[in-house]
Symmetry: C2
Subunit: 398 residues, 2 copies
């Protein structure tokens, strides 16, 4: 399947020389006309300079581009880091003949090292020259965002509105330092639908809340997360009423595909884990339990070993700070019920272990009554914790 | 150094047959006379049956004993698990000629499997027959509490009060599923000082708050944590005023030695990590930051690799939900300053990596002004995250 850019967008990915490996490290996403744009950013108190620069520029109705480098996060770099981030936007703005304020910036990679501005300054005109609206240019841009990712992540779909069709296309990166409220993940979603800045803001928050904020590799929130939605209106189709639902759902699907791709590509991971928590009084309550389960090192190592050691799952649920009654709690692993209403269920441990040896593991925790029960549910995605994850992450900089 | 029991206490550790390995698995801690006793227990909503039984029996002034089995946590075992836990206390009470209410119970090991009551029922009279007040019996009891521990953890000290000397002695187990608000760790502290039940309650809460609640191996809170303080008054020395401070400090030192022993023995750990967080407005604020740093998989894998990748430390501090200003934040690793007032410091990375290759790593995060700054500090202990931890924990039950 070929993934197309929406009308009026061009992208590029080039190698400017930030990475010692010589891999692509500079990406640009450009709208030919001013685009309504919003973003959602890391909640960390320690933020990368690009987040500080970009987040005060959105939502806005006249954004032209996002410039992204990989290989260096430009975080914990003090005032000179802020100046570097602003300079990157100015440099691309010069190429596009717009103002620096109309450009956003993202950086991902090592923290605490100044950006090599000489190679970036040389690279930005090179990226501008490479801009194209082809499927290959989308893949190039997605590739140039990668850090420890093993595959480029991009996806596109066409949405039929009452007035005609629009396209929604996204590209993302991320494989570790992934936690709710995002982590080192960057994502740009583009559409040629005609949205207001307020609509882009509401649509991207809705989508992120249900996708990028529901994934965790290691529970470590990054300094640099950014998800940006640009809508340039080039299709000529404005979006109201039920059409807005269609576009909102498309944005969510694009975000979900990219978020789950990040989990599929999680560093060292051998299993893709879906955690469903159902039957709670609020989404927030269910979310807190799902997150504790998904981030427990003991749950994740058990899944690594295809080990249906379900006490680790119920005990993780128990420390989420939610006042439920264990007598109403049940747990199912890959369709095998192991715990019902607070009591262990006899099951074939070897058979379940064999089912878990598939790549996909599904945990379903259900509350059926008592305090904090209700009809809300949350789906959360995570990876297992493997020796390979530890090997990769104990060898990062040295 | 020989570690003695306080006067009027006897302990035993025997092998009753819960563990397939044939290692000791049943321990008893007995006061010859009724003892003022208090306990602190896991905060998990999913609690082991022994915690449910024990915590409603304390504080009390006439406790006689604690019976502990390893190899099975008796957690998530429903109503029959509760009956089994009560039966264990009744069985030891029969041996001691007291009431079941005067006995506490702890269990540690796998979750969700019914206790093998036949072997426990046979083992309890055997443990009662083995009770002795020798240093060897203390070591036997500490050994019989162990699960994946590689060494028995016990310590004793003499405290000089104004009226004469008393002894404080503790034994503990734990090597994983260790997190604040305790984890699978069990600890019994005994003293022959003459304390009221209220004093035991206040002293043990003070001690636990600064020791067992400040350690984390994997952030996974157990169903079964219990720390119990028994004071039988056999020394004849009651404790008031400044003497109470002396005993409080001794209880804290005993707890700290045992808590840090748990971190030294953390599953698969290669480094012992002390996290000092200083200069915050409240202890709670400093604690939340220390905990996030200590539980970050990326911090722990960096330490495993002797990698001074300090951005992982500052970014973990940043997601603790504390509203500090990064411009006042500094970080020192093993006495080498790497980050001062929000800006990277040039340092010799290879030399620092070599220092980190020692077993002990010290992280010092300081806030020197701005919101949330003040004079409160917290010390937290953790281990690194190694491939060996993952190997051990992906092979637990299967």
């Amino acid at each position: 399947m070929t993934h197309q850019l929406p009308q009026g967008f061009q992208t590029a990915g080039v190698t400017c020389g930030i990475k010692e490996s010589g891999k692509p490290d500079l990406a640009a996403f450009v709208s030919e006309v001013p685009a309504a744009t919003a973003g959602v950013f890391a909640q960390n108190r320690v933020l990368g300079a690009p987040v500080l620069v970009s987040r005060e520029r959105v939502p806005r109705s006249d954004c032209r581009a996002v410039i992204i480098n990989s290989g260096n996060a430009n975080a914990c770099t003090g005032d000179s880091g802020l100046a570097d981030a602003r300079q990157m936007t100015e440099q691309l703005a010069t190429q596009l003949e717009c103002s620096g304020e109309q450009v956003l910036v993202c950086s991902t990679g090592i923290i605490g090292v100044p950006l090599p501005m000489d190679v970036i300054t040389a690279g930005i005109p090179q990226a501008a020259a490479a801009l194209a609206d082809s499927p290959e240019s989308l893949e190039s841009a997605a590739t140039a965002m990668m850090t420890t990712d093993t595959f480029a992540k991009f996806v596109s779909e066409e949405v039929e509105l009452s007035s005609g069709s629009v396209r929604v296309t996204g590209a993302a990166k991320g494989a570790a330092m992934i936690a709710p409220n995002m982590a080192t993940m960057l994502c740009v979603v583009m559409t040629d639908a005609d949205l207001t800045a307020e609509q882009t803001d509401s649509l991207i928050r809705y989508g992120v809340d249900r996708t990028f904020n529901c994934i965790s590799v290691d529970g470590h929130m990054s300094t640099s997360d950014s998800v940006i939605l640009m809508a340039n209106g080039t299709s000529g189709h404005s979006v109201d009423g039920s059409d807005e639902d269609l576009v909102r759902n498309a944005v969510q699907r694009i975000c979900q595909k990219l978020a789950t791709d990040i989990i599929r590509d999680a560093e060292g991971a051998a299993h893709f884990v879906t955690v469903d928590v159902q039957g709670f009084d609020t989404r927030e309550t269910a979310f807190r339990i799902a997150k504790e389960i998904a981030e427990s090192a003991l749950v994740k190592t058990a899944i690594c070993g295809n080990d249906p050691n379900w006490g680790r799952i119920t005990s993780a649920a128990g420390y989420a700070g939610i006042n439920f009654d264990v007598a109403h709690l049940s747990l199912t692993i890959n369709d095998v019920e192991v715990y019902r209403a607070g009591t262990p269920v006899k099951y074939d441990e070897a058979a379940l272990s064999e089912k878990m040896a598939q790549e996909d593991v599904h945990l379903l925790l259900e509350l059926a009554g008592g305090p904090c029960s209700g009809s809300e549910s949350v789906r959360f995605w995570t990876s297992d914790l493997t020796q390979e994850y530890v090997r990769l992450n104990s060898e990062y900089t040295t």
